[in-house]
């Protein structure tokens, strides 16, 4: 892109920014960066330009880049939740493509800034991730890259198991046990208290707990959803650098989590606005055709998955039709995909979009349900906990032997058992002692265990 083309793009962005503001979009200051394809695909694979090095990103990069080289898929842009907001544009985009993309990313930026799920996200994450990457590479230097890589492999295997709830009080690591504490010590030690737990003591009806002798107290006191944090704080075998890496990777997951939870809304919102904004521009007939083509390819439906752009767009349009434009701004502020679908996906929309539930029967994938409420509920189920199985730590002193007991909160969808057996060793590697996972297979409770050498499987 030469100087005059950049000037032209700047003029277009200026105009689009004005229109977006007039529509009431409220976004961060923008930084547009024009990059070659392999850079865009690197960012796409890593989720962030400054992220740490790991072979799994290399694998993703290779796959994406190959699809690009073969002309199978193309990323036109990438936008980062940050303030200022970074948007990366693919070098070689035409001016009209860039116009659409700018309109699209402005709406994303508005969404990042205003949706409540993003309210706790670190807007300087680019810098934090860069610091993380540096720290990890320093650890590689100190402890050997293979050792660090093996550790990161294990952490990544459980990285989704964090507690992303908005109102969770931030726990400190002050309750960290010394890694040599024996089990008896651990049990008698004071367990981490809730930050406001002392308020209870002001209640006249509150009964002070009389410390009774060796009654086994559950540990953790309540089932713990944040497996990463718990292991980071309580694993008896981790070294400080390992706890540091866990805490950094957990921060990254918490940063990405709102994007997982609002995929349909966020893409729908951006598509809704790029269409509205483009309508305000004076396009030549050629540009108008190119825009329609591009727009059509973005919102194309698919047999096997839902196109989040299309579904989100349709729902927003429907909300606007029924309640007016102000309402969509409210929805973009307070909802996430689950409530968005549950509240606003209507019978009419399910039918109009021809949505269905399908399932494997024998060796065929068949449509099994078209009733709108079932379809809606299925969409909602699939998004519970970001689409990941909900697993909690039930007992960190199982068998009174410091073993870790995980429980899958089974809700009619079975786990991939091969993956269970391949993932447990990672948990064991992090915890240092035998680990167990309870789940349900064919309506029976099953306990999978791994002790560092062998797998065990038994019915409960």
């Amino acid at each position: 892109m030469n100087e005059s083309e950049i000037k032209e793009l700047e003029r277009a962005i200026e105009e689009i920014t004005d229109i977006a503001e007039q529509f009431g979009l409220d976004f961060f200051p923008m930084r547009y960066e024009i990059c070659p394809a392999d850079i865009i695909y690197t960012f796409g694979a890593y989720g962030m330009p400054t992220r740490f090095s790991h072979w799994s990103f290399g694998k993703a990069f290779h796959k994406m880049k190959m699809q690009y080289d073969l002309g199978l898929s193309k990323i036109y842009e990438l936008v980062i939740n940050s303030n200022p907001c970074y948007a990366f544009l693919l070098e070689g985009n035409t001016l009209i493509q860039n116009k659409l993309i700018v309109a699209h990313v402005l709406a994303h930026s508005d969404f990042f800034k205003n949706n409540v799920r993003f309210s706790n996200t670190n807007r300087k994450m680019m810098d934090s991730m860069s610091a993380t990457a540096e720290r990890i590479s320093a650890y590689e230097y100190e402890y050997g890259s293979e050792k660090v890589e093996q550790f990161i492999d294990a952490v990544l295997a459980i990285q989704e198991h964090v507690d992303p709830s908005l109102f969770r009080t931030r726990r400190t690591t002050s309750s960290k046990k010394s890694s040599t504490s024996s089990n008896t010590q651990r049990r008698s030690e004071k367990r981490p208290r809730h930050e406001y737990e002392d308020l209870w003591e002001l209640d006249p009806d509150y009964k002070r707990e009389i410390p009774e002798e060796p009654k086994k107290e559950p540990f953790p006191p309540k089932p713990e959803k944040d497996i990463v944090l718990f292991i980071q704080e309580h694993s008896p075998k981790l070294e400080d650098w390992q706890r540091d890496i866990m805490s950094m990777l957990r921060d990254e997951m918490l940063y990405f989590w709102p994007q997982i939870e609002t995929k349909i809304m966020n893409e729908g919102w951006a598509s809704y606005w790029h269409i509205r904004i483009m309508r305000e521009l004076d396009l030549t007939p050629n540009e108008a055709i190119e825009f329609s083509k591009l727009n059509a390819s973005v919102v194309q439906p698919s047999r096997y998955t839902l196109n989040p752009y299309y579904l989100g767009l349709k729902i927003f349009e429907d909300i606007e039709k029924r309640w007016g434009r102000e309402k969509i701004f409210e929805v973009r502020e307070f909802d996430s995909d689950i409530s968005f679908l549950r509240n606003y996906l209507t019978k009419q929309l399910v039918e109009e979009l021809d949505l269905y539930v399908y399932q494997k029967q024998g060796n065929q994938w068949k449509i099994v349900e078209k009733e709108w409420e079932k379809v809606r509920d299925q969409l909602v189920y699939a998004r519970v906990n970001g689409g990941y199985p909900y697993i909690v730590i039930e007992d960190a002193d199982y068998n009174e032997n410091g073993e870790l007991y995980l429980k899958h909160r089974y809700e009619s969808i079975e786990l991939d058992l091969k993956y269970v057996e391949k993932t447990l060793p990672y948990v064991q590697q992090l915890w240092g002692r035998k680990v167990h996972l309870e789940t349900v297979v064919e309506n029976k409770k099953v306990l999978f265990s791994y002790d560092g050498e062998k797998h065990y499987r038994k019915f409960l």
Partner: protein, 383 residues
Amino acid sequence: MRDRSFIVSKEDWSLHRKGYHDQTRHKEKVKEAVKKNLPDLLTDESIIMSDGRKVVKVPIRSLDEYRFRYNFNKSKHVGQGDGKSKVGDVIGQEPTPGAGKGSGAGDMPGEDYYEAEIDLEDLETMLFEDLELPRLKPKQKDQMKVRSIEFNDIRKTGIMSNIDKKRTILQNLRRNALAGKPGIYGISPDDLRFKTWEEKEQPHSNAVVIAMMDTSGSMGHFEKYVARSFFFWMTRFLRQKYENVEIVFIAHHTEAKIVTEEQFFNKGESGGTICSSAYRKAIELIHDRYPPAYYNIYPFHFSDGDNLTSDNERCVKLIHELLSLSNIFGYGEVNQYNRSSTLMSAYRHIRDPRFRYTIIREKGEVYKALKTFFSPEEAEVSP
């Protein structure tokens, strides 16, 4: 004019190589995984049926990023139709097992295994690292050695017909670049590079594999596949050691005959089994076409062990005769269900360092079989 709230920039990204760097690490991991998965890969259909292709694609399972996830095949999913979908419509089909490859691949959602491309030669190198021809009774040495020529060095002088063009040009490039004017021009005698050779004495260079297999009714698809995989690798292994490797196929049930490879692996016959018929045929063949003085002879027999009991003693006798003519004799019993076979119990008593046997219960054990047959002798065995 109000302050602009945006900046457009274009930086030089050419030093940003992270994606490629981690991709390289991933490739290394694939190679490690291949090595770890050798026993499984060995019998992968895409290799055994590769028909001379040099690069094959094989599924590598250990490079998945494992995590707790739902069973895709047991879950319900939501999709979108073209407006006319109805309950009962089939929107996808999984290829039925055994129906062959290529049909409808990529049509299905889910299954995300990693396909690695492997150079067969690389695979061979890894695989054969551990294999060795067993140390055998030396034969008449002089007769058995051949001289072979190996181009394995580069020198500045040599005869023109052996000039190494690529290296010569590289040298020229290098010299010109050093002089400050890169390019290929003005090749001087100084640039010339020649290939030179060494004469190597190689032990005798003809080998014949006598592949014998039970094709009676009791040998099913699995048994034949295992045998096929084994012969595939064994032939390749021997080709690295000998200049010429022939392979002859003898199929037998109650009687034996020499057949083509095609017939050997695909034709099934019914009826009982008399293994001695194959051994007799092999001995006949050796006397007719493959004198032991000129050939290294490798008879291998695959069976499910379901031999006619009265024939077992004869088999043992014939094996001794075959052993006197061969380098080694291998017997592989393909026995999925781990039954004890009468043939095996007869063979267990054969005491000869050149006689080796193994039992294969699953595909992954083909590698074990190769290692059993082609490992150096463990201990000195007195003749």
